[in-house]
Amino acid sequence: MATQVFDIPKSFKKDMKYTFCPGCDHGVAIRLVAEVLDELGLKEKAITATSIGCSVTLYDFLDIDAIEAPHGRALAEATGVKRARPDKFVFTYQGDGDFASIGLAESLHAALRGENLSAICINNTTYGMTGGQLGPTTLLGQVTTTSPTGRNVEYYGYPIKIAEHVALCDGCAYSARVSLDSIANIRKAKQAIKKAFEVQIQGLGFGFVEILSTCPTNWKMTPEQAHARVRNEMMPVFKPGVYKDVTVQE
């Protein structure tokens, strides 16, 4: 029987200290990205445009070329990188506020143009780095520092279902929503990331994965409670699944 050795992905920087809060899913998500970069042999041709928020620290963890983008503009910068150097592998790693609030125009237009880019969006229903304010994906009823009595429709309107919106864009080749609440779902998440990366390599268009994630600090929960919340409160609204995949024959 072959032995599988648990190791640190090559695309990970060496000796990097873990800087996320206990129970935060960013660490898992970034590890999955690193594993997929390794498996597809992309480390040496990858360029990432990072975002603003906790997700920006991706470039501290990955041993690949990176440029930071102003808040919301990651996919505009990624478009510039890819158009200038079409032979490179270009992806973004953004939070929900970055991707779907301040950057919604850049995000959807990159998908509409069918840019050969891959985008990962971490959806944790809040602005994490700034201390837990209401964001575009905050659930109805959710208490945040700027929705002290819970999100109501009268003042705040509705949360956005990102993966569904992206899937509606004709230039989108792959759009999926995944969760990191269990081992089985983490495996599925990795397959989705791989798919979103592969469609870029195949030149099929925009590849997208929305990852439902925890923010235990701002949710004021233990890691375990936070993952239960993902499962019990987020997944019924933000349903995991593949919303578009042009590689599958209908």
Binding site: A46, I47, I64, I67, A69, T79, G80, E106
Partner: protein, 357 residues
């Protein structure tokens, strides 16, 4: 058709906006990203066709925010990339320009001024001197700013804008105006005269056989951030020492020197010739680089003349830089209007005579 040949076949008659676009092509611009706005839309229109014909990158961006950030992305790979826009839309680009100065990226922006503030209107104006030289982005930074006064200079200075942006790895602005963008003049297209700049030691190309590179505008701690900004200002000092450009004549014996920038220089030059014909001792001084500003030369001129008159088609924006350079040595006065038809030659002559009486 964007141009027609003039007599000797060397010169072509061409509109300023098309001249800028063609110069950018000849300068080797690899990527154009833009969003339409009058009075510079011809640049994007021309580039949309030409860049595709040449198999270079072109994107009709969804907004000016996206366009300038696409330029930033392309420049991070060392590519020659540009956008063009005007006034209220250049306002939307200030955030990215601030980032690009800190990231030290060779962004090229063509800014063809219209009238403001706000939406203003599409009459020509020079109201964005401050926007270009002082900037609307956050933090301590400078943009390289070049100011053409003729369509020929639109070409020559487009070349220079690309060169300086890449040589100094700093965003550079060609600050034209609606008058120049829309006027036709006979010009000659020389070849791009500057050497290629090697970006292989910093550009993002994928971490193959070398450590990964991170282009980021900030250092999380006080000390390194101080160091970073100081380094930027050392670069600006180099620009001030080496790249100042200006045009002058008749300043040595002048009782008054008239200064202006951009296309207003055309009328001011005629006015000075008229004054000289009348026996009035009037000199001319025009900064071509608005940053680096020709402080040293203006200070020297202040030591030679009795008075300086600043003329602009705005309410006195370059005026402040002139006053700083003159540093109280001689009186500095202002003549201008905020928007619309440039003051004509007679008006300027009258303004000069008033100052001399």
């Amino acid at each position: 058709m964007t141009e027609c040949l003039v007599k000797n076949n060397k010169k072509v008659l061409i509109k300023g906006n098309y001249a800028i676009a063609q110069a950018a092509i000849k300068a080797g611009c690899e990527c154009y990203f833009g969003y339409p706005i009058t009075p510079q839309s011809e640049i994007g229109e021309y580039m949309s066709g030409k860049m595709q014909e040449l198999h270079r990158a072109y994107v009709s961006a969804e907004s000016e925010l996206a366009a300038i950030n696409m330029v930033v992305g392309a420049c991070s790979t060392g590519a020659k990339a540009m956008t063009s826009s005007s006034s209220c839309a250049v306002a939307l680009m200030q955030e990215a320009l601030s980032y690009a100065t800190s990231d030290e990226l060779p962004v090229v922006l063509v800014s063809v001024m219209r009238a403001g503030p706000g939406l203003g209107n599409i009459y020509p104006s020079q109201g964005d001197y401050n926007q270009a030289t002082v900037g609307g982005g956050n933090g301590d930074y400078k943009l390289i700013v070049l100011s053409p006064s003729t369509v020929q200079e639109c070409i020559d200075l487009t070349y220079k804008t690309f060169y300086l942006a890449h040589k100094y790895r700093n965003p550079a602005v060609l600050l034209a105006d609606g008058l120049l963008g829309q006027m036709m003049e006979p010009v000659e297209f020389t070849d791009y005269p500057y050497p290629a700049i090697d970006h292989s030691d910093w550009a993002l190309t994928g971490a193959k056989g070398r450590p990964a590179r991170k282009i980021r505008s900030y250092a999380p701690l006080e000390g390194p951030q101080c160091e970073h900004v100081k380094n930027l200002f050392n670069k600006y000092k180099l620009l001030e020492e080496n790249e100042v450009m200006y045009e002058e004549f008749d300043v040595e014996d002048a009782d008054i020197v008239v200064t202006c920038f951009g296309s207003l220089a055309r009328n001011v030059k005629s006015a000075i010739k008229t004054c000289r014909a009348k026996g009035l001792k009037v000199g001319f001084f025009r900064p071509i680089t608005l940053f680096p500003f020709p402080n040293r030369r203006l200070a020297e001129i202040a030591g030679m003349t009795k008075k300086i008159l600043v003329t602009e088609v705005n309410m006195g924006q370059m005026l402040r830089d002139v006053k700083l350079a003159v540093n109280g040595k001689v009186p500095v006065s202002f003549y201008g209007k905020p928007v619309g038809a440039w003051p004509n030659v007679d008006d300027i002559v009258e303004a000069i005579e008033k100052e001399l009486n």
